[in-house]
Every structure is written in C-alpha cells, then in structure tokens.
Subunit: 163 residues, 2 copies
C-alpha cells in the first residue's frame, strides 16, 4: 500500500481531526476515522500510521478506541495476518452506537451522582448543617436537574428514531 492521498481526502481528514479536537477527543482519532471513511480499501495499522504520519502506538490505541465505539471494524484479509480496518459507513448506526455507548452511560452516571447529592443534602439537613431556606433552595435546584435529565433520557431515544 503506497498511495498518495487526494486533496479531497486530505482536507476531509483534517476536518474530522479538528472536529474531534473541538469535542475534546484526540485529533488522531478523528484523522484515523476520516482516513478510513474515505478509503475504498481497508487499511492496516502501518498503512494508517504512514498515511497520517503518526506513530504506530497512536494508531493502535486510536483504532481500538474507534472499534470500541463501533465506528470502525476489523476485517480479516485471508493470507495476511495483519489487522485491517475499515470505517462503518452507515453514520446512522454510528450515531446510535455513540448514543448507547457514550451518552447514555454518562446520563446514567449523572443520575446516580445526583441521587448521592440529594442524599448528602438530606443528611446535612438532619444535622442542621443547612438552614431551612437554603435546604429548600438546594432541593428545588437539584430536583430541576433531575427532572431535565429524566426528560432528556426519554426524548433522546425518540429523536434517535426520528433520524
């Protein structure tokens, strides 16, 4: 594999890389996905590292991350013991997977944290560590978050289906 990338692919890789960066994800992950998404053929780890001029280590961790999100998948090439990768082209599925594996767990974690905070607040009230007025204020604000979280976790799956 010894190709030079067209301008379109180079720009695309750069764009997806920047997008990831802005989302707080490693740029290399975006670059890898961008490269694979516009790759007619599946690529090996070394292909990826070479085309993007990144280390094999980065390519390895990046591909594993992307695979865990089901954004890319490994494909088996008979007669070659190397791992080959290709992007999951169906972005609709990808989005669904990101929601399920990324957003949903975070929402649930947030919900649990909120419960623990409400418990702490209750504790403090019983100990008299907060005034009744403060307690009422804190309670209402925390409840507001809980309600929003509830609605979000109800609406997101619907929005998902509407896509």
């Amino acid at each position: 594999m010894e190709i030079t990338l067209s301008k379109t692919r180079l720009e695309f890789i750069e764009t997806v890389g920047r997008m990831c960066q802005q989302l707080g994800l490693p740029r290399s992950i975006g670059q890898i996905y961008g490269l694979l998404y516009l790759s007619p053929a599946s690529l090996s780890l070394d292909d990826i590292a070479e085309q993007l001029s990144i280390s094999k280590g980065s390519a390895s961790t990046g591909t594993r991350q992307l695979a865990s999100w089901q954004a890319i998948k490994q494909v088996w090439v008979p007669g070659d013991r190397r791992d080959y990768f290709e992007a999951v082209g169906n972005l609709r599925d990808l989005l669904e997977s990101i929601y399920r594996n990324y957003f949903k767990p975070k929402l649930e974690k947030g919900g649990r944290k909120l419960d623990s905070l409400l418990a702490t607040l209750e504790e403090e009230r019983q100990q008299g560590a907060v005034s009744p007025e403060d307690y009422a204020f804190f309670k209402e604000r925390l409840d507001n978050i809980a309600r929003l979280e509830d609605r979000i976790s109800r609406v997101l799956p619907i929005a998902e289906k509407l896509l």
Copy 2:
C-alpha cells in the same frame, strides 16, 4: 460575603467542573456555574474567585463566557458598583440557548465545509486526479454525511420542543 460552602455545594461544584472538563471546556467554567447554580444569593467576581480559589482573571473570563451563553446573568445591586452574577435556573432555556449559540453554528459551519469538499472533489474529477471508481465512492460517502446533517438539523429543533 464570607461563607463556607456546605458539602452538598462543594460536591456539586466538583461534579459540574468535571463534566465541563470532559466536554473539553475549562473546568473553572463548570465550577463557576455550579457555584452560582446552588447559590441563593448572587455573587460578585471576588466572591467567586475566593470561594473557588481561582484567580480574578479566571473568574472574569469565565463569567463572561458563561454570560455569552446566557447560562448566567449579571444582576445589578443598587448601591454597589460591583457586578453580581447569578445562574439562569431554567435549564430548559439554557439548553435551548446552547443549541442555538453552539450546536447550530457548528452544524452550519460543517455544512459549508462539506460543500467546499464536494466542490474540491468535482474539481479533482475534472482534472482526472481521481479514478472514476474512487470518485463514485467519495461522492457517495460525502453525500451520506450531507444527508445525515440535513436530518439532524431538522430533528434537533423538534427534540428541543419535545423537552
């Protein structure tokens, strides 16, 4: 203003700070919002800096950022020339504002970038810089993104209303 924060507030501040960090935003911004969100009284810049043990500079830039997102607002306290801040308690409105001021512009920017990429691709085709097969592949994949972007920008406002 010389209060000590209750355990509930401290934990909440930490949590929101971490959330922001994970989203690629400055932790201090989350801390400021968390502090204000669970603050019965509005706070001055110095209050914020002191309670969070951050510099006045951070507090200044952080509050301005948050205000630009309409996550917090300045309130005028008669007889005091300092700026006071309080959190916008209505999270539903906050979400709407974030969508309008943050997501929507990014979606639109992405759309424009995609158009420019398609133009580049067309150019390369005419110059024979890409094979017909590659062209077809690139075209289809880029079109897929455009279609998804379209659906997203149509569904998001609906989901917004459903909240």
